[in-house]
C-alpha cells in the first residue's frame, strides 16, 4: 500500500493522501527497456502503468488517439535536440478476470527455477500491450562539471575519444556538441536506422527482409564514407572527420564482413559517437578496437550497463556514486567524477610510466656495473672462476646496499608538477611513443655500465698493484675487492641522484643511508670473527684499508671518474637534444613552489561569473537526497535553495514554459 499526496489543478493548494495498492511490479531491464506496475485504486479499478523508452512504448500503443501520439513524438524530438533524456508514460485498464489469469502465470514465472528472466519477460509481454499514451517526460541529465574541458585536454594529449551511449541519436549528438567532440566544422558521417527508407521496410514487417535491407544499407553507407574520407585526409588543414552510428546499424556493421570497413573508417575519424547501443554492443565495439586496431583502450562508465564495456577494454574505469556501484566493482580504477580522468591519465599515468622506466633501467644498470667488474677480473685469473667479491657482498648488494633508493625514486619521482602536466597534455605523447624505454635508451645505459665497470676494476686494481701502506705492506685480493665494492656502492647510489628529476628528503635519507649501511656492515663484518665462518678472508679488511691514505684518494677519484661519462652525456643531451618535458621544466624552473596551496585559492581570481556562481551554489548547504544523481534534478530545485540564500539563478527555459502554462490554466478561476 502506498500513499500519494495528490493535489489537483482545480483544487490548487489543497492536498490529500490517496492510497493505492501495488499488486505487481514488473522490473526494469535493459532488454525490455521499460518497467511497469499494476495497482489497484481505492475504488477497485485495476490499472497497469508503464514507463519506458519511447520506441518500446510506441510499439505497444493501442489504436486510437493518433493525434496525441503524433504530437508527443514531435515533442520528443524537440526534447532530444535540447539534450534531454526522454521517457514515455502509458497506462492500461485491466479487467479483473484478465488480471487474475495473468497473475497466475506471473506467479509461476516468478517462482520458476530455470530461465526466470526469460519467463518473466514473456509474461510481461502478455500484458504490456494496448497502452494508452499519457505523455512524455524529459529530464536534463547534466554533464558533470569539467567534462568538456577534460575531453578537450585529453584529445590534445593524443587520446581519441568515442562516446557509446544508450540515448537517442539527437541526444547523443547534442551531448557530443556540448563536450566539444563534434563541432560544425567537422565533416560528420551519419549512419542511422531512422531514415524513411528503412522505416518503410520496417512497416512491412517481414523480419528477414528488414535484416537484409538494413545490412545492404549499412554496407552501402560505409563504402560511401570510406571512399569520401581520403579526400579530407590529404589536406592537413581540412576538416576533421566524425562518425555517428546507430545501435541497429551497428549490429550489422559489427558482423565479420563489414567489421573491417567500420574499423578503418572509425580510426580515421577524430571522434565517433554511437547511440542507442546496448551493453553488449558497447563491449563489442571496445573489443573491435582493442583487437583490430591493436591500440590501448580505456573505457569509463558509471552504470550497470557499462560493466561489460569496462571489462572488455584494457583498462576499465568506473565512476562511483551516480548510478550505483556495479561499474566501480567491475573496474580496474574507480574515480569519483569524470574530470578526475584527466588527473589519472595525464598526471599519475605519465608519472607512473616515467618512474617505471627509470626503476627498470636503473636496476639493470646497477647490476650490470657490479657484475661486469667480476667479469674483467676473470681475465686476470685465467678464467678459473675465482670470485672477486665476497659472497656476502654479492648477496646483500641488491638487498641492502642499493635497494631502498630506487624504491624511493619509483614512489616519488616527478618530472614536472601535476598542474604543469595538465597544462601541457601533449607531454603525454612521450609515453605513447615509448620514448624512455626503447632500444636506444637501453643501449646507452648498458654502454655506461660497461664503462663504469672498467673504471671500477682497472682503476682499483692497477693502483693497488704496488704497496699501499707507508710501511710497505701489500694489499691482498680481499682488500682490493672491498675497495672496489665500496666504490661501486658509492657510485651507483650517486648515479641514482643524478637521474632524479625531483629530490625529496627521502632520497637523501635513502642514498646516504645505503652508503652508511654499507660502512656499518663492513665494519661489523670484518671486525668479527666467529667460529662459524668458513673462512676469515675479510677479517679486518676495512680497517686495514682505512688506515692508508690510498683509500681516501681512490674513494674520491673512482666515483668521479666513473660518473664523468654519465654527467657529460646528461649535459649534452639536455642541451642539444632536449626532451619535451625538459623544455617545460626549464621554462617553469623559477615558478614558486605552490604545492601546499589548494587549487581553489590559486584560481580564485580567474573565475568567470558563471563559474563563480556555481562555486557559490555548490557551497550552499544541500538536502541530501537518496537519488544523488543529476538525472533526478527537477528544474526548480536549484533556484529554490538559491533564492532562500539570496543568490540568483536564472530559471531554465522549460521551467518558465511550464509555469506559464500552469498560470494560464489557473487563470480562469
Amino acid at each position: 500500500m502506498i500513499y500519494v499526496r495528490e493535489s489537483h489543478v482545480e483544487k490548487m493548494g489543497k492536498t490529500q493522501d490517496v492510497s493505492y495498492e501495488i499488486l505487481n511490479v514488473l522490473e526494469f531491464n535493459s532488454t525490455r527497456k521499460r518497467q511497469s506496475v499494476v495497482c489497484r485504486y481505492r475504488d477497485g479499478r485495476l490499472v497497469l502503468f508503464c514507463k519506458g523508452a519511447d520506441t518500446v512504448i510506441y510499439e505497444r500503443l493501442g489504436t486510437g488517439n493518433g493525434d496525441l501520439n503524433k504530437v508527443t513524438r514531435v515533442h520528443l524530438e524537440q526534447f532530444g535536440s535540447a539534450g534531454l533524456r526522454t521517457l514515455c508514460l502509458a497506462y492500461r485498464d485491466l479487467a479483473p478476470d484478465l488480471y487474475e489469469s495473468w497473475n497466475e502465470k506471473f506467479i509461476t514465472a516468478k517462482s520458476s527455477l530455470r530461465d526466470r528472466e526469460k519467463r518473466l519477460d514473456e509474461v510481461a509481454e502478455l500484458i504490456e500491450k494496448e497502452f494508452i499514451l499519457i505523455g512524455a517526460t524529459a529530464i536534463e541529465d547534466k554533464l558533470q562539471e569539467g567534462v568538456p574541458n577534460c575531453i578537450q585536454t585529453l584529445s590534445r594529449a593524443g587520446i581519441k575519444i568515442w562516446v557509446l551511449t544508450g540515448d537517442k541519436i539527437e541526444t547523443a549528438i547534442n551531448i557530443a556538441y556540448a563536450c566539444n567532440l563534434l563541432n560544425n566544422e567537422m565533416k560528420q558521417f551519419i549512419i542511422s536506422s531512422e531514415t524513411d527508407a528503412i522505416r518503410e521496410v520496417e512497416e512491412r514487417g517481414d523480419q528477414t527482409e528488414i535484416a537484409r535491407f538494413m545490412k545492404e544499407e549499412v554496407k552501402k553507407q560505409l563504402k560511401q564514407f570510406l571512399d569520401e574520407a581520403p579526400q579530407y585526409f590529404c589536406s592537413p588543414s581540412g576538416p576533421k572527420l566524425a562518425l555517428v552510428i546507430d545501435g541497429k546499424c551497428l549490429m550489422y556493421a559489427l558482423e565479420p564482413s563489414l567489421r573491417i570497413m567500420l574499423l578503418t573508417l572509425s580510426l580515421n575519424c577524430s571522434s565517433v559517437v554511437c547511440c542507442r547501443v546496448s551493453p553488449l554492443q558497447k563491449a563489442q565495439v571496445t573489443s573491435l578496437v582493442k583487437k583490430g586496431a591493436r591500440k590501448i583502450t580505456l573505457s569509463i562508465g558509471d552504470g550497470a550497463n557499462d560493466v561489460s564495456m569496462i571489462q572488455a577494454a584494457h583498462i576499465g574505469i568506473g565512476i562511483s556514486g551516480l548510478e550505483g556501484m556495479q561499474a566501480v566493482m567491475a573496474s580496474d580504477f574507480a574515480i569519483a567524477q569524470f574530470r578526475f580522468l584527466e588527473d589519472l591519465l595525464l598526471v599519475h599515468g605519465r608519472w607512473s610510466y616515467i618512474r617505471l622506466c627509470k626503476v627498470v633501467m636503473y636496476f639493470f644498470y646497477k647490476n650490470l656495473a657490479f657484475t661486469l667488474t667480476q667479469f674483467w677480473f676473470t681475465f686476470g685469473t685465467g678464467f678459473s672462476g675465482q670470485r672477486f667479491y665476497d659472497d656476502w657482498f654479492q648477496s646483500l648488494y641488491n638487498v641492502i646496499f642499493t635497494a631502498l633508493p630506487v624504491v624511493i625514486v619509483g614512489l616519488f619521482d616527478q618530472d614536472i608538477s601535476s598542474s604543469l602536466s595538465k597544462k601541457y597534455p601533449e607531454l603525454y605523447k612521450e609515453g605513447v611513443r615509448n620514448m624512455f624505454f626503447n632500444r636506444r635508451v637501453v643501449a646507452i645505459w648498458a654502454c655506461f655500465a660497461v664503462y663504469q665497470s672498467l673504471v671500477f676494476f682497472y682503476f682499483v686494481s692497477l693502483s693497488s698493484s704496488t704497496s699501499r701502506d707507508s710501511d710497505g705492506k701489500m694489499f691482498g685480493l680481499w682488500d682490493v675487492s672491498t675497495m672496489a665494492f665500496t666504490c661501486v656502492v658509492v657510485t651507483v647510489n650517486l648515479r641514482l641522484l643524478m637521474m632524479c628529476n625531483s629530490i625529496t628528503r627521502w632520497h637523501y635519507i635513502s642514498v646516504g643511508g645505503s652508503i652508511i649501511v654499507w660502512f656499518v656492515f663492513i665494519f661489523i663484518y670484518s671486525g668479527i670473527m666467529t667460529r662459524f665462518d668458513r673462512n676469515d678472508n675479510m677479517f679486518w679488511v676495512i680497517y686495514v684499508l682505512m688506515s692508508t691514505s690510498y683509500f681516501y684518494v681512490t674513494l674520491l677519484l673512482v666515483p668521479v671518474a666513473a660518473l664523468l661519462g654519465d654527467f657529460l652525456y646528461l649535459g649534452v643531451q639536455r642541451w642539444f637534444f632536449p626532451y619535451d618535458y625538459q623544455i617545460v621544466q626549464e621554462s617553469h624552473k623559477d615558478d614558486a613552489d605552490s604545492i601546499n596551496k589548494p587549487d581553489s585559492q590559486e584560481t580564485k581570481e580567474h573565475l568567470t561569473p558563471d563559474e563563480a556562481r556555481s562555486n557559490e551554489i555548490s557551497q550552499l548547504p544541500k538536502e541530501v537526497s537518496k537519488h544523488s544523481g543529476f538525472a533526478f534534478d527537477s528544474p526548480g530545485y536549484e533556484s529554490f535553495f538559491a533564492t532562500q540564500f539570496g543568490k540568483y539563478v536564472p530559471p531554465k527555459a522549460w521551467d518558465v514554459a511550464r509555469r506559464a502554462s500552469m498560470k494560464s490554466k489557473s487563470k480562469p478561476k
Partner: protein, 329 residues
C-alpha cells in the same frame, strides 16, 4: 570558516603530503651554467690532488731487477724446470744492484692463476692447529700419509722460498724480517700455539719448508704469503732494510734461487723501493687524477665555447614540437 582552517591544517601534515605526492622537493634542472661550473670545480680539485699524488709517487725510488733468468747457470738455461727441481745443485746467485735510497724489498712474482689456489686454505686450522679437523677446503694438500698437514692447502704449500742477503761495501745489511705482515693477520688469524706439522713431507715439494718449532703467528713469511693477492702479477714484502743507504751505493745481493716459477712460465723479480705516505711507486693514481682534472677543464672550456656559439634560448617554449608545428599550420 573553521572547516577551511581545519582542511588547511590537515594539508600540512607529513602523511597528507606523502600520500598526495606533494612532498617538498628540490627539482634540480641541469642548466648549462651548472654543467660548466661542475666541470671547472672538478678540474680545480683533481689537478692538485693528482699532482700531489704524482709527487708522492716520484719521490719513491724503485729498482726492479729480474733475476730468474740470470740466476740459472748457462748450461741449464734450456731446461730450467729440472734445474730448479734438482735438490743437489746449489742455487746461489750474486747480483749487483745500484741503489738510490731504497729501503724496502719486495719480491715480485708474475703469472699465477688463482681460483682453486685461493680457496685452498683453512683459516680455522691456522688458528687452531691440529685441533681443527674440517680441513676439506684445503684440497688437494690436506693430509699426507693419513696425518694432517698444518698449515694445509695449496697456498701454504707453495710458499715462496727464495732468500736474499744484502752486502754493502763488504758489510752485511741488516734486513728486518719482522713486522712485514698486517697486524691483524699476525694477531688474529694465525694461532700462537700452532706449529707446522707434517709440512712439505710429500713427494711433490711446492715451495719452502717451515721451521716446526716456531709458532705460526711468528712465521711472517707464511703470513705474508697467505694473504692472496688480486692480480696474477703481484708483490710480497720480503723485509725492511733499516739503514739509510746513500746515493750511488752499490749493493751486492746474494740470493738463493729456489722457487720454481719456471714450470708455469712465471717471472721473478726483486724490487727495492722506498715508500711514501701514499705507498709504493705507483703513478697510476696520480696520472688518473690529473687526467680527470684536465679533461674536466677541457670539457668546461668546450662547453663554454659551444654555449656562446649555439645558444639555445633557455626554456623557450617555441621549441616544443606542438608549438613548432603550429607555425607551419
Amino acid at each position: 570558516m573553521d572547516t577551511d582552517r581545519e582542511r588547511h591544517r590537515a594539508r600540512e601534515t607529513a602523511f597528507y603530503l606523502f600520500t598526495q605526492q606533494s612532498l617538498p622537493a628540490c627539482k634540480p634542472v641541469l642548466t648549462p651554467g651548472w654543467v660548466i661550473a661542475i666541470f671547472l670545480f672538478m678540474g680545480v680539485i683533481f689537478i692538485p690532488v693528482g699532482l700531489i699524488s704524482l709527487r708522492a709517487s716520484h719521490c719513491v725510488v724503485e729498482i726492479v731487477d729480474r733475476y730468474d733468468i740470470d740466476c740459472v747457470p748457462e748450461p741449464s738455461r734450456m731446461d730450467k724446470v729440472s734445474y730448479i727441481q734438482d735438490d743437489s745443485i746449489p742455487k746461489n746467485c750474486s747480483h749487483f744492484m745500484k741503489y738510490i735510497n731504497p729501503s724496502w724489498i719486495d719480491a715480485e712474482v708474475n703469472s699465477y692463476s688463482l681460483q682453486m689456489y685461493v680457496k685452498s686454505r683453512s683459516d680455522k686450522q691456522l688458528l687452531d692447529g691440529q685441533k681443527y679437523h674440517d680441513t676439506s677446503s684445503c684440497q688437494p694438500v690436506e693430509s699426507n700419509n693419513n696425518r694432517p698437514i698444518v698449515p694445509c692447502g695449496l697456498i701454504a704449500w707453495s710458499l715462496f722460498n727464495d732468500t736474499f742477503e744484502f752486502i754493502r761495501e763488504g758489510a752485511e745489511l741488516k734486513v728486518n724480517r719482522k713486522n712485514i705482515a698486517w697486524k691483524s693477520d699476525r694477531g688474529h688469524k694465525f694461532g700462537k700455539n700452532v706449529y707446522p706439522f707434517n709440512f712439505q713431507n710429500g713427494t711433490l715439494i711446492g715451495g719452502g719448508k717451515l721451521n716446526p718449532e716456531i709458532p705460526l703467528s711468528d712465521q711472517e713469511d707464511l703470513i705474508v704469503w697467505m694473504r692472496t693477492s688480486a692480480l696474477p702479477s703481484f708483490r710480497k714484502l720480503y723485509g725492511r732494510i733499516e739503514e739509510d743507504l746513500d746515493v750511488d751505493d752499490v749493493v751486492v745481493v746474494n740470493l738463493m734461487n729456489n722457487y720454481n716459477t719456471y714450470s708455469f712460465g712465471g717471472k721473478k723479480k726483486l724490487v727495492l723501493s722506498t715508500s711514501s705516505w701514499l705507498g709504493g711507486k705507483n703513478d697510476f693514481l696520480g696520472h688518473a687524477c690529473v687526467f680527470v682534472g684536465c679533461s674536466s677543464l677541457t670539457l668546461a672550456i668546450i662547453f663554454m665555447l659551444l654555449h656562446v656559439k649555439y645558444r639555445r634560448p633557455y626554456g623557450d617554449m617555441s621549441y616544443l614540437p606542438w608549438n613548432r608545428k603550429s607555425f607551419s599550420g
